[in-house]
């Protein structure tokens, strides 16, 4: 079968755009202001358009990258995340003088890595995508060099991430040793005899640990609040959404393939415990937080817990629910951290709950967006978060995990308290100290409006996205 290079146009565009930004930054010193941003934005939008408009007639590219259905869905979602992060970061990085070629170039390359992770059909592509994604993010997090928190966050994420990716690499080696297959589907499929051999189990648990680090699954979540707090807010937005969506979509793919084996039933209890712990620890620890970024970090741990819970229902309708909720989660967290970025003062990001007091009277639009995102994270109607959680819990109940679903609903109710802590702060008496926040620029405004519209639209009329997911699902994930 002749490979058709147009099929992977989104990947080529992102890689090319990233290198173009680096070259422009390196060799054209007298470039017009905003050129790098324009190139990066055009690249991300073009990649997203290519992902949606191209209709490849094959399902895979050289059996390495999936280019139909599932892979294309996540390609589009991840380019959307990259685009929105770029829009939120333009003014932020310009004011703080960190908007050089390294910021935009690494953001695009990181997006490329995320897409590779989400659509990998081959362990090598998965490994390389993960490393592209992580290595770019290590630098992006530490990009505010003079600020000690940013530096410390980058160092912490690097140390944790390096150990996690070493675990993951050894896990892949063990799976390969047990099965002799580099193809992900073949190595996890039921006709391999080695499916429950010790090497295979060691490999799969190490891969789970490696992915667990990246999606901050309890007990591997300890880095999350520190890194989210220390990283510049637009980078936090990108990290919290992009890398988690990518890694979770890969985990979902592995689980979907592996769940066709009968041994899956023996390990369901592992995911049961992990999902319960992640939901409980995330939501309960968030109660005590007084810093908004840390609170949102624990909230994103809890959101991952809901998704892990639905992983148990991977055989019956869980895939649809997880794909829908991942899109919704990306929008909500991008909105929350993006607004935080536009509200931040120049030398330090707006973080303490005290500083949010009365912001709604000074910045009504940004507060409105933050409120909608928080209401959606809490899972209340009429937002997309409500529909998303409803579908998640329905899928779990249909697979007869009643106790876990009940415990999950209890943690959702607990979580409403701390989301409203921020919302109440926005609307009460203004604080003594007035944070000096810059005016909203055009790009952040576009991103904010897009997120607001999408969250409300998916909340009121979810059928459009749901039916398109249902349409593409049967075509994909079945390769081989």
């Amino acid at each position: 079968m002749q490979p058709n290079w147009v099929d992977i146009l989104p990947l080529i565009l992102l890689a090319g755009g990233g290198f173009l930004v680096f070259c422009l930054g390196g060799f054209w010193k007298a470039r017009p202001q905003g050129l790098l941003f324009a190139v990066a934005l055009a690249t991300a939008i073009a990649a997203g358009a290519a992902a949606i408009l191209l209709k490849p007639d094959q399902t895979h590219f050289l059996k390495m990258v999936e280019i139909s259905g599932y892979g294309r869905f996540f390609t589009f979602l991840l380019t959307l995340i990259t685009t929105l992060s770029l829009l939120f970061s333009y003014q932020y990085v310009k004011l703080r003088g960190i908007g050089g070629d390294e910021f935009y170039g690494l953001l695009l390359l990181s997006g490329l890595g995320m897409i590779l992770v989400a659509s990998a059909l081959h362990w090598l592509v998965f490994f390389l995508g993960l490393e592209t994604l992580s290595l770019s993010l290590y630098v992006l997090i530490a990009i505010r060099k003079p600020q000690s928190a940013s530096n410390e966050a980058g160092l912490k994420y690097f140390m944790m991430g390096a150990v996690a990716s070493a675990f993951l690499t050894f896990g892949i080696a063990m799976v390969y040793a047990a099965t002799g297959k580099m193809d992900i589907l073949q190595s996890l499929s039921p006709n391999i005899q080695a499916v429950s051999s010790p090497a295979m189990l060691l490999g799969l648990s190490l891969i789970l640990i490696g992915i667990g680090f990246k999606i901050s699954m309890v007990p591997f979540h300890l880095w999350t609040p520190d890194v989210y707090q220390g990283a510049p807010a637009p980078v936090t937005a990108f990290l919290a959404t992009g890398s988690k969506v990518a890694l979770f979509s890969a985990l979902l793919r592995f689980a979907f393939y592996y769940a066709r084996n009968s041994v899956w039933n023996d390990y369901v209890f592992v995911f049961w415990i992990l999902a319960f712990l992640t939901m409980a620890v995330g939501n309960i620890t968030a109660l005590a937080q007084v810093r908004v970024k840390r609170l949102l970090a624990y909230s994103s741990i809890a959101q991952m817990g809901y998704l892990l819970m639905t992983l148990l229902a991977v055989r019956e309708g869980g895939v649809l629910a997880i794909m829908f909720y991942l899109s919704v989660y990306a929008l909500m967290d991008l909105g929350a951290f993006g607004t935080l970025a536009t509200l931040s003062e120049e030398d330090e990001d707006l973080d303490s709950l005290e500083d949010f007091r009365g912001l709604a009277y000074v910045h009504p639009w940004r507060s409105a967006l933050l409120t909608v995102c928080l209401v959606s994270l809490a899972g209340l109607p009429p937002t997309a978060g409500f529909i998303g959680k409803f579908i998640l819990f329905r899928a779990v109940l249909q697979s007869h995990f009643v106790v876990l679903a009940a415990l999950g609903i209890v943690t959702v109710i607990v979580s409403i308290y701390f989301y409203f802590k921020i919302i109440v702060a926005l609307f009460i008496q203004p604080a003594e100290r007035k944070p000096v926040t810059p005016d909203l620029d055009l790009f952040a405004r576009v991103a904010g409006i897009a997120i607001l519209v999408l969250i409300l639209w998916l909340g009121l009329l979810p059928s459009a996205l749901l039916s398109s997911i249902t349409r593409i699902l049967p075509l994909s994930l079945q390769l081989g």
């Binding site: 290590y138 530096n151 410390e152 150990v163 675990f167 080696a173």
Partner: protein, 101 residues
């Protein structure tokens, strides 16, 4: 093969455990990085052994990519560590505890 396959795999697992213990128990940033490198090399060894057992070349190709990735990881990591060491004068991981809550 002269050396049995199982023994090579066992060696890889032992090497991996040594690296894991090194990177988890040591507090020095450089020692953590060294532990990571040992784990990656253990993965490489397992890939080569498995590749010989299955008589397929893709495992050995994977090792080349591991080398490249390990080198770039060290490049980024050492840059971060050197900058942090200049700023705080310490290589001890426990000293980096500014953020709490």
């Amino acid at each position: 093969m002269i050396v049995p396959y199982g023994n090579v795999l066992l060696l890889a697992i032992i090497l991996f455990l040594l690296g894991a213990v090194c990177s988890i128990s040591r507090r020095n940033l450089l020692m953590i990085l060294i532990g990571v490198e040992i784990m990656l090399n253990a993965a490489g060894l397992a890939f080569v052994a498995a590749s010989l057992k299955w008589r397929l070349l893709d495992g050995q190709a994977f090792v080349l990519f591991i080398f490249a990735v390990a080198a770039s990881e060290v490049a980024v990591g050492l840059a971060l560590i050197v900058y942090s060491q200049r700023r705080t004068g310490s290589l001890n991981a426990d000293q980096y505890n500014q953020m709490k809550g």
